[in-house]
């Protein structure tokens, strides 16, 4: 059977490692179930240098070195595959995950060390690759969902891999193959709620795939029905994602029994006291199931004895608990007071909301289906249920202007929101990457790889898609927003209008719909 080394690349280096890579943990479990010999090197958890990486690569005769992650792991992945090719000249190097899926041809070109790329969902593709390694006669073009190199070096995409239907047939993630005690449990706290802050043994689970909504900055990793294969004018087949007028989704979720049994397993085996649902949008699933899914998960949470019971300190504050608190991602228009109350009663502590903006004209261009009014309604429903809403904000949208900046500041003040907004960032795979690609390239002197290398958290600026503001203006405006300094913003608006030749009284914006795709540079 194939001997496979999984490597989890480094992500968000400025913070401690907090998340077992769920996709790799599932793939490792699948590979073991099929009888393969599996080792995991979690480079993100250990954060050790090149020497340790190379020692790992020399530790055995690996048939396969497999790695993957989100787009922002590019720096780390580039280093790992370079070392892997060097130390393991005859191993098959396989790359998968969101990083490869959105730009398969570019990644295979920039990373010549990679032999096979797995596009989109890998639950069936990777075991088929391992099976072919065992059989000794690899022909990757016969494995759907791959990109590989033909003998003359041209890249070949095999047919698109279909998404699996039977999610409950997946094994549990191979958590034992990750340094839970050594690293992850020590970093259990999540500063989103009191209970999150007090969490001491947290694991993440992913209970569903997909999101019914269209947010123009969002990417769904090609595992949410968001990906189609299209042929370009030169006859090349490429995966395509959201673009104006074409949006596809497949909504899939585990049964409530699978979800809660998995949590119970984690509770009994690892003594966890907190679970983060990684799901893109729990409320999509609830709505799709006719409002039964979350209710049933909550009912089972009680039935399985997972509902937290507390120990208090001398001030009457929670000190610790038995049972499992949890959190996830909600959506302004899809939640309702009943389900929020039910979730709270089952131990839900906080819910992330992408409120993004409190300016109606900006919300209209984002997609999403939400408005400032629906944002505020869900905000109070969530607070009233006893769950903390996490009010995410973004600035730098295509039609961001002085008015929207002020509307945001007013809303934050009224709603007690304390936030340092992200910058709207066109990650590959999102509609805005597709629409603004030329503009992004211009901002990086035609070098797309330089843009990818620059990507990290959206709290730092990279490519700008705002038509009105450049990077320096956005950073300055955010600084003033944080200080609630309307005086400076008003003063700058006057200078800005003069600079752009906008007469007094005329709308202070350069954005027109026909201009979509042409950012300020």
């Amino acid at each position: 059977m194939a001997k496979i080394l999984f490597i989890n690349p480094v992500v968000r280096e400025e913070d401690v490692p907090r998340h077992v890579p769920y996709g790799i943990a599932l793939l490792a479990a699948i590979a073991m179930d099929r009888g393969h010999l599996v080792q995991v090197y979690d480079a993100n958890a250990w954060r050790r240098g090149e020497d340790v990486l190379r020692a790992v690569l020399r530790a055995d005769d690996w048939d396969v070195v497999a790695l993957g992650g989100i787009t922002t792991t590019y720096n780390s992945i580039k280093r790992i595959v370079t070392a892997a090719r060097d130390e393991c000249p005859s191993s098959l190097i396989v790359l998968g995950g969101g990083i490869l899926t959105s730009l398969p041809r570019e990644m295979m070109t920039w990373l010549p060390q990679v032999d096979v790329g797995v596009i989109g969902e890998a639950f069936e593709t990777l075991p088929e690759i391992l099976g072919m390694v065992d059989a000794g006669q690899p022909d990757w073009t016969r494995v759907a969902g791959t990109v590989s190199r033909s003998p003359d070096g041209t890249l070949v995409l095999s047919p698109q891999r279909a998404l699996i239907d039977d999610l409950d047939g997946l094994p549990y993630p191979a958590w034992d193959l990750f340094p839970l005690e050594e690293v992850y449990f020590k970093n259990s706290d999540v500063l989103y709620s009191e209970e999150g802050m007090l969490a001491t043994r947290r694991l993440d689970i992913n209970a569903s795939y997909g999101c019914s909504l269209i947010c123009r900055f969002c990417y769904h990793l090609g595992i949410a029905g968001d990906m189609r294969y299209e042929t370009d004018d030169k006859g090349n087949v490429n995966p395509a994602f959201d673009k104006p007028g074409t949006y596809t989704r497949t909504i899939r979720y585990h049964s409530p029994e699978y979800v809660v049994t998995l949590v119970k397993h984690a509770y009994d085996t690892y003594g966890i006291n907190f679970v983060t649902f990684l799901d893109e949008n729990l409320m999509t699933m609830d709505q799709h199931s006719g409002r039964t899914w979350l209710k049933e998960i909550c009912r089972l949470w009680h039935e399985f004895g997972l509902m937290p019971t507390y120990e208090y300190d001398d001030n009457g504050d929670i000190k610790s608990w038995t049972g499992v608190h949890w959190s996830g991602t909600s959506h302004a228009t899809l939640c309702n007071p009943e389900i929020l109350k039910t979730m709270r009663k089952a131990g839900c502590s906080h819910l992330v909301y992408g409120y993004e903006s409190f300016a109606p004209h900006v919300m209209k261009t984002i997609g999403k289906g939400a408005s400032p009014a629906s944002n505020i309604r869900s905000f109070f429903w969530t607070l009233e249920s006893g769950i903390r809403p996490i009010p995410n904000q973004i600035i730098g949208f295509p039609n961001e202007d002085f008015e929207s900046i002020r509307l945001n500041m007013e809303a934050w003040k009224k709603l007690g929101i304390v936030v340092k907004p992200h910058f709207a960032t066109p990650y590959p795979g999102s509609e805005w990457f597709t629409v603004y690609r030329k503009s992004i390239l211009k901002q990086y002197d035609g070098d797309l790889e330089a843009f990818i290398l620059d990507l990290g958290d959206a709290s730092a600026i990279s490519a700008v898609i705002s038509h009105n503001f450049n990077a320096i203006e956005l950073i300055g405006l955010r600084e003033m927003m944080l200080k609630d300094d309307t005086r400076m913003i008003d003063a700058y608006e006057k200078i800005w209008c003069e600079n752009h030749g906008i007469p007094e009284g005329a709308p202070a914006t350069l954005y027109t719909k026909s201009d979509y795709g042409h950012a300020a540079e």
Partner: protein, 54 residues
């Protein structure tokens, strides 16, 4: 010793986690970087590229 490799078989060679060796200079510079701003400023000694003739 903790192995950095975890799996379902014993690899030919083990790779143990050596205690991280960070010298005092690195520890100081990392700590200062975390609090950078205002009067906290420092010289990253390994990054000096100044040529004496400049």
């Amino acid at each position: 010793m903790t192995s950095v490799l975890k799996g379902n078989f014993t690899p030919k060679k083990t790779v143990d986690l050596e205690p991280e060796k960070k010298d005092l200079e690195t520890r100081f510079e990392n700590a200062a970087l975390k609090r950078l701003g205002g009067s906290i400023a420092f010289v990253a000694k390994k990054k000096i590229k100044w040529d004496a003739d400049e």
